[in-house]
């Protein structure tokens, strides 16, 4: 495994690691919603500063954190061009019938920037929160929906399992890739169609092993007496501390400040 992926937990100790997962998840949700409301320069700036501060507090390796942005490279480009070509305004260049506007350029850049902030916030959450904690937090946050029939515990379990196997799957892709390269597979072909086809030798084995793994996991869970529908108790109980309350307050105040700045602009 040669890189850090979003969704990967980095075991360490920091102010962020010690926070209650419910607070972290609630905070992250709020912060991830904020960029959609904050369109002005001032509010975006304040928001960026706050995210940067949290990133420093998290003890996360900053370079690795920035590298997680690669995962949204393509969707980012797509958004950029979408805004570039569809925003009306002062024309910058006109290519046939399609016009590129100054406003479009700005809006596109802004969208990319916001997308990056979203990814950073999400990565900070998963870097500092173990899958078990995430599931626990999710279960607590979705708790009220359980009364209207949402299978909250099952959803939390599915999420835990999915997150748990992200690094495993990537490790497997790496191993199989090398194994097929050792058999002379050319996985770096320049022609797109050939490139897609050349990945068959990698993806078929990955799917096969994913299904086998799922079956084994199901058996292992049943063997340990796991029954989804039963009301289960927990080994670790969550307790809100004063630190958690303080953190919640900070996030709320910053959010209000961002919205306030937005109002002023």
């Amino acid at each position: 495994m040669n890189m850090l992926l979003p969704g990967m937990y980095v075991a360490a100790d920091s102010a962020l690691h010690r926070l209650d997962p419910r607070v972290k998840m609630g905070g992250a949700l709020l912060l991830m919603a904020l960029p959609f409301a904050a369109q002005s320069l001032g509010s975006t700036l304040l928001f960026s500063v706050f995210v940067a501060t949290v990133a420093l507090l998290s003890n996360a390796p900053l370079l690795a954190l920035l590298r997680t942005l690669r995962t949204v490279l393509w969707i980012g480009c797509f958004m950029f061009f979408f805004y570039l070509f569809t925003t009306p305004g002062q024309p910058l260049v006109a290519l046939g019938g399609i016009g590129v506007t100054w406003e479009g350029l700005l809006a596109g850049a802004m969208q990319i920037y916001r997308l990056c902030l979203l990814v950073i916030v999400a990565s900070l959450l998963t870097f500092t929160t173990s899958p078990a904690q995430l599931a626990h937090g999710l279960e607590a946050l979705l708790g009220p929906l359980g009364r209207v029939g949402l299978p909250v515990r099952e959803l939390a379990m599915v999420l835990t399992i999915a997150l748990r196997f992200v690094p495993t799957l990537f490790g497997e892709v790496e191993k199989i890739t090398r194994a097929q390269q050792a058999r002379g597979a050319d996985l770096r072909s320049r022609r797109p169609w050939q490139r897609v086809r050349s990945w068959g030798p990698v993806f078929v084995p990955i799917f096969v092993s994913a299904f086998r793994r799922a079956e084994e996991l199901a058996t292992a869970m049943e063997a340990r007496g796991f029954r989804g529908a039963q009301r289960r108790t927990r080994l670790v109980q969550l307790h809100l501390t004063r630190r958690d309350l303080a953190a919640s307050l900070v996030v709320l105040v910053v959010s209000l400040a961002v919205l306030g700045l937005e109002r002023l602009a």
Partner: protein
């Protein structure tokens, strides 16, 4: 082929909190036709080392030379040298992806750009080498085979490349004792028949004692011993320091020696130990 590893260092995930040095300054030289075992406990760097020999990993520091060409290079010369090295990963059956056994084994030879007739010849040869009947197996779906058969199909896929250097990473892991013995016997036969260089990664001492003539011991990413199998594998102190067991026959002979028997302790296989004890007993009772 001459393989030279010079001061090889490799670090996984550099610059992240998951950073881990797998190899720290490994130097080894392996000549043509040698049978070398790479021994070490889990996490000692064995698999990382052999992946470098196949040019699959780029050294963090140091070099790996295949006939004086850098193994990881992007030149045509480097690619040509790499093609002469065949590496079977641990649990090679995990890499099976084709619809039929024939297509699976043909994947490697096809990537070499061989003629169809040559591919067919090689696939049949490789299947026979691993003890499978080409006529029976060729059209079967690999995923319906037993674990042992899948392992053999996967190994045939590597043999079909006709490598000059064959690297097997824990080839018998997860096989039953009989499957293990058969596979090892075949490995020895291939080696004798073709004179290829054989590199066997294992932590099974009995397995190494039966197949290789030289053993390199890795511990913590460093080479802690490199020498004739008989010497290295009977050095209890060294093996224990590397977190490994001592072969049972060696333990028995050492105990006998301490009890005053006139026996040599560098007998690695049970049958060798039996012969040694029989001889010593003969001496004891005054028989030749």
């Amino acid at each position: 082929m001459l393989i030279r590893v010079e001061d090889l260092t490799y670090t996984y995930a550099p610059g992240t909190p998951l950073e881990r040095a797998a190899l720290r300054g490994v130097s080894v030289e392996i000549g043509p036709g040698e049978r070398v075992g790479i021994l070490g406990r889990t996490g000692s760097g064995k698999s990382t080392l052999v992946q470098h020999l196949a040019g699959l990993l780029e050294p963090t520091a140091g070099r790996v030379w295949l006939n004086d060409v850098a193994a990881h290079g992007r030149t045509a010369a480097a690619r040509a040298q790499r093609r002469r090295v065949g590496l079977a990963f641990q649990y090679p059956e995990d890499q099976i992806f084709e619809r039929t056994v024939f297509r699976e084994v043909a994947f490697g030879p096809r990537n070499l750009g061989l003629e169809e007739a040559e591919i067919v010849t090689r696939v049949r040869w490789a299947l026979e080498m691993v003890g499978l009947h080409p006529a029976e197996m060729e059209e079967r779906v690999p995923f319906t085979l037993s674990g042992g058969e899948m392992r053999r199909v996967a190994l045939a896929g590597i043999l079909g490349l006709r490598p000059e250097v064959l690297i097997l990473d824990e080839p018998t892991a997860g096989l039953d004792p009989r499957g293990r013995r058969e596979l090892l016997a075949r490995v020895r036969d291939w080696q004798e028949e073709t004179g290829l260089t054989l590199i066997l990664v294992s932590h099974d001492l009995d397995e190494l004692a039966r197949v290789v003539e030289r053993v390199v011991v890795l511990e913590g990413g460093r080479v802690v011993a490199d020498g004739p199998a008989r010497r290295v594998l009977s050095d209890g102190q060294l093996l224990r320091a590397a977190g490994l067991d001592v072969p049972q026959p060696v333990l028995l002979l050492q105990a006998l020696r301490e009890a005053g028997w006139e026996v040599r302790t560098d007998r690695l296989l049970p049958e060798e130990a039996v012969a040694e004890i029989a001889q010593a007993r003969g001496l004891l009772e005054g028989r030749p």
